[in-house]
Each structure stands twice: as C-alpha cells, then as structure tokens.
C-alpha cells in the first residue's frame, strides 16, 4: 500500500486539525474579519453618500453605493482571510510538528491540503459574516437560487486558488511576520480594480491593469450574480483562467518549497 492511498483520509485528518485550531484560536478569524467590515462601514457611511451620487446617478446616494461596493468588500474578505492561511502555515512551519509529520508514512501533501481545506471553510464563514453585516446595514441582494449556487461555486474556486497561493507564501516565509505581510497586496487589489469605483474612471494606464487583474473579473462575476443581472461571459472566462493559473502556480510552488525544507 502506498502512502498516496491515504491522501484523502490524511487530508481529512489534517482538516480536522485545522478546524480545531480555528475553534481554539478564534481571535485570528475575528482579526481577519475586522478589516473588511471596517472598510464596508467606512465606505458606506463616510464616502458612500458622495460616491453613490457618482455611480448611481445624481440621486444614487448611500444605498446605490452599498449595492456597488458590497461585492468588492466580499472579495476583500476572501483576500483578508487568505492572509490568515499564510500566517497559520508559517506558524506551523516554525513548530516542530511539521518535522514530525515529515517523518511519518503519511501522504505528505495532506499537510498542505489540510490547510487549504481549512482555510476554505474559514473563508466561507468570513464571507457569510461580512454579507450578514452588509445586509444588516441595508444591502439587498437580488440573486436567485441558481445565482447563489453559482456564487458559492465561484467563491470556492477563487478561495481554492488564493489559498494555494498563500500556502506557498506561508511556507516560503522566514517568519510569521513576513508571512502576514506577503499577501497584503491581495487586500488592496480590489481598490485598483472595480471594487470601489468603476475602472473607467481611472487614468488609462491604470485602467488597463485594473481591467485585467484577477480581482476585477472576480468582483464583476460576484456583482452580476448578487444583483441578479447576469454575468458577462468574458468575466467568467477570466475568473476561471486566473483561478486555474493562480492555483497551479501556488500548488507547484508550495510543493516544491515544502519538499525542499
């Protein structure tokens, strides 16, 4: 019997471990939730009145902006949650327990898949919480059942890709501090995309970047599904293409780094 036969049960064992960690260390999850919730409230209550007039027409106001910004905040939530992945992977790597796992006849990759699956659970909890706050302050998604299912699928795909990327970042980091800083740019990508204002309002060179960076199609797909207005095919294609590329890169880098240490 080879150890690969155990890839699935070992990954489930590691997932259990991650879920227990999440329960025992809830402050990390709360910290990760802090930023998107603060940004949501800041942008809706402080900037929302003015920005909403620009986006939703002269009379749009705060509620129009809430509709516009909520999908961007949800993607920011995912980006913030995967920072947690990087931190918990790096914390794991500094402990002796990883070396213990390496000397055991287990499917090695399960150490990483456990983190990925655990983070995906965490991401769904975080996005649900942030969506809850958005609804509490007046956001009203118009999504139908099919839209919700598609949204869950899209979030799973995006979360899967970004977690592999940050697992790689966590393994490569020399310290937990570095691990928490490396994925930081991800949190700001929704800003230089269609998260907070339409990309057309940006200068030409920035608009080019903003239109094609992964978070813009991610946000557009999310926005389309939540508003029930349908999704552009090009955004779906870009969402898949970016996610697969990021996942492959992250997975490959993580495995190489993990086996080399």
């Amino acid at each position: 019997m080879t150890t690969m036969t155990y890839a699935l049960p070992d990954s489930m064992t590691m997932l259990r471990r991650q879920l227990k960690h999440m329960l025992r260390y809830p402050s990390l999850t709360l910290q990760l939730l802090m930023m998107p919730i603060l940004f949501l409230l800041l942008f809706v209550y402080v900037f929302g009145g003015t920005l909403g007039d620009g986006i939703g027409g002269p009379s749009g106001g705060r509620s129009a902006y809430l509709d516009y910004v909520a999908p961007g905040i949800l993607l920011m939530t995912i980006a913030s949650a995967v920072m947690g992945t990087s931190i918990s992977v790096a914390m794991d790597m500094t402990e002796g327990i990883i070396d213990r796992f390496r000397t055991m006849a287990i499917a090695r990759v399960s150490v990483l898949t456990g983190h990925v699956l655990g983070s995906m659970v965490q991401i769904f909890i975080c996005t649900a919480a942030v969506l809850g706050v958005a609804i509490a302050v007046g956001y009203r998604p118009q999504a139908g059942v099919a839209d919700w299912l598609a949204l869950i699928g899209a979030f799973a795909l995006i979360a899967f890709a970004l977690t592999w990327l940050t697992v790689a970042a966590g393994i490569s980091a020399k310290s937990v501090e570095t691990a928490s800083n490396t994925p930081m740019p991800l949190v700001f990508l929704p800003f230089i995309g269609s998260g907070f204002v339409p990309t057309e309002s940006m200068p030409g060179w920035m608009q080019w970047f903003a239109d094609y960076q992964p978070f813009t199609p991610y946000i557009e797909v999310t926005r389309g599904l939540l508003s029930g207005t349908g999704v552009e095919q090009s955004d779906v294609v870009l969402t898949f293409a970016w996610s697969i590329a990021i996942a492959l890169f992250g997975y490959t880098a993580a495995r190489i780094k993990f086996n080399r240490r």
Partner: protein, 335 residues
C-alpha cells in the same frame, strides 16, 4: 530438470541460513553531508543491531542532529547510504517511516490541541482504527504519567511533561526504531531520571533506540554502545568501558601533612606527579580496597602522615575531552 534460477527464487540464500538473517536495525555507511563549504558529516559509519540503546555522543555542532535527520528521512545525505531495518532511507523513505518514531530536540507537539488530541491525531495519521487509537493513547498517558494533564493544552505543561508527551506521540505508531535527539537537554534532574527510566523500559520491550546526547553521564547510564562524534567524524566507538580504557587509568591523590615527606612518599609509591605547594602526590591506581590497604600500610611503615586521600577513576568526561580536543586522536577505534 533443475532450474537453478527458480530454486533460488523459491529458496533465496539469505532465507536458508538460521543466523544473521535479520537486517541491522540501523546501518549507515560513509554518510556525508555538507552545507556549502561547511562539512557537517565527513563519512560516518553506524551499525546498530536490533534492540538495545545506541548513543551518539558529541559536543554542539558535531553533526548529531544532521545524522538523526538523515536516518529519519528528514534530509538526504550527499553521499553514502543508510538503511533502517534493511530499507534505504532515501529510496524507500515511506517504508522507513513506517518503522520509526522520532523525538527531536524541539517539541514536535501541537500546542492548540490537548494532550489526548495530540495522541489521537497521531493515531489517525498511523491509520489505526478508532478503538485501537483510543486504547493506545490511554495506555501511553498512563505510562507517562500524563493522565491528569490529558485534557489540557501542552502550553500549560512543564518541560518534562512536554518531552514525555512528545515521546508518547512518537510511540503511537508502535515503532521498531526510535530516534531521540537530545531527549533530556534542558530538563531538570528529576525529569531526566524519569526520561531515562522510560527509555530503558522501551529498550527492554525490544525497541531499538538511537539517541544523541552531549551528556556523558547519559550515554554512560543508558547506552550499550557509544559512538563519539566530533567535527563530523566518529572518533571512537565502543561500550562505555571500552571507551574508558582508551585513556590512561585512574589515580590516587594524597595530600600530605609535611612538605619534607613529599619526596620520600613519591619515591616509595612511584608517584607520577607531585605538587609541593599543595603538598599532593599522585599515584597510579584503581582505588580498589586491597590496593588502598597496602598503600596505607606502606605509608604507615614509613611514618608518612597523610591528611587526605582522594580516588580519581577515569570517567567518560576524560575520554570525551581527550578524544575531542586532540586532533591526533581522531579516528581511533576500539573493537
């Protein structure tokens, strides 16, 4: 007709003999490892038969941890080969991993899980069934005196308790070979004794134990065989007694009452050294009762007054210092 090939397949030569069919528990030949220009292991050989305790003794930076890391499949050697229970550590790493338990220098435990949960995690990763995993965990908690702490997180444990939990985790898979990298470093004397008892009991159960230590006392107390590692080479190997024989024997030190008797005493007893200022005379001897009695009789007869007599027997410290300090002593072997 005879088909020799078939016959050999059916009765391979190694299986026909009745002796020495069992592979060595640990076998390493000419292991080398360097990081850049820094040679950490410069060709070491290790042979450990099944059962018993083997100690790798050496100062910090001698290459002890590197050796354990190679033998426990954590890192690859640059040259040479190593086998655990006949399986190659790099080509058959998973077959090796099935046989071993490793307790490193730094606690390899999950601080967010309780003691029991840590053990059960190991049970699941060893693919034990639920009841087996539970009963093994309970037995180990009991044996290692951790029952009261089982439901607590290891961050509340003392150093000795953490080390015991760490070792218990290594034992969940019922390993045949256990690697202990400096198992008692940083422990207080009582915890150290407890650890020693546990290690002896494991060896008595037939587990092969490979431990590294920088404490001579520990190697002397526990090990059947000791290899002294220094600068990436094994400079001596043998039982504790064999190693002690490597250096000049013990001596007696006499402190006299009167300085005018030093020369007389030195001549009478065949002293190897005298120190007129301290009024001491050094005499070769093993400190046995008979030799002491005759020594005292001779001194009495010569009316030499002795204030104090101390017996100095060679210990591993002498061996260690002698072997690891003088380059000309390298590569000495006792067999």
């Amino acid at each position: 007709m005879f088909d020799l090939g078939l016959l050999l397949t059916l009765y391979p030569p190694a299986k026909r003999g009745t002796m020495n069919t069992e592979p060595l528990a640990i076998e390493a030949r000419n292991l080398r490892k360097s990081y850049g220009d820094d040679t950490v292991l410069d060709g070491i050989d290790i042979a450990v038969p099944r059962g018993g305790i083997y100690a790798l003794l050496g100062p910090n930076g001698a290459g002890k941890t590197t050796t354990v890391n190679i033998l426990s499949t954590l890192i690859d050697a640059d040259g040479g080969e190593a086998r655990i229970g006949g399986r190659d550590v790099s080509a058959e790493a998973d077959r090796v991993r099935e046989q071993i338990g490793v307790t490193g220098q730094f606690a390899a435990i999950d601080d967010l899980l309780t003691g029991t949960e840590n053990l059960r995690l190991m049970g699941r990763l060893h693919h034990l069934d639920r009841s087996e995993s539970r009963s093994r965990a309970e037995r180990l908690l009991e044996e290692f005196d951790l029952v009261d702490a089982a439901a607590r997180r290891p961050s509340t444990y003392s150093g000795g308790m953490r080390r015991r939990l760490d070792l218990a985790m290594s034992l969940m898979g019922d390993p045949r070979v256990i690697f202990l990298d400096e198992p008692t470093t940083g422990l207080d004397p009582r915890s150290r004794r407890t650890m020693w008892t546990i290690i002896r009991e494991l060896a008595a159960e037939g587990v092969t134990i490979f431990l590294t230590t920088q404490y001579l006392e520990e190697a002397d107390e526990l090990a059947d065989r000791i290899a002294v590692l220094d600068g990436g080479r094994i400079v001596a190997e043998g039982t504790a007694d064999e190693l002690k024989r490597l250096i000049p024997g013990g001596h007696l030190s006499l402190r006299l009452n009167r300085d005018d008797q030093i020369e007389a005493a030195a001549e009478l007893l065949g002293a190897t050294a005298t120190d007129p200022e301290q009024l001491t005379v050094q005499v070769p001897g093993d400190g046995s009762v008979d030799s002491l009695r005759s020594l005292i009789e001779r001194l009495d007869r010569a009316s030499i007054e002795v204030d104090e007599l101390t017996v100095h027997t060679p210990d591993l410290d002498d061996v260690f210092l002698a072997l690891t300090e003088r380059p000309e002593n390298r590569k000495e072997s006792v067999r």
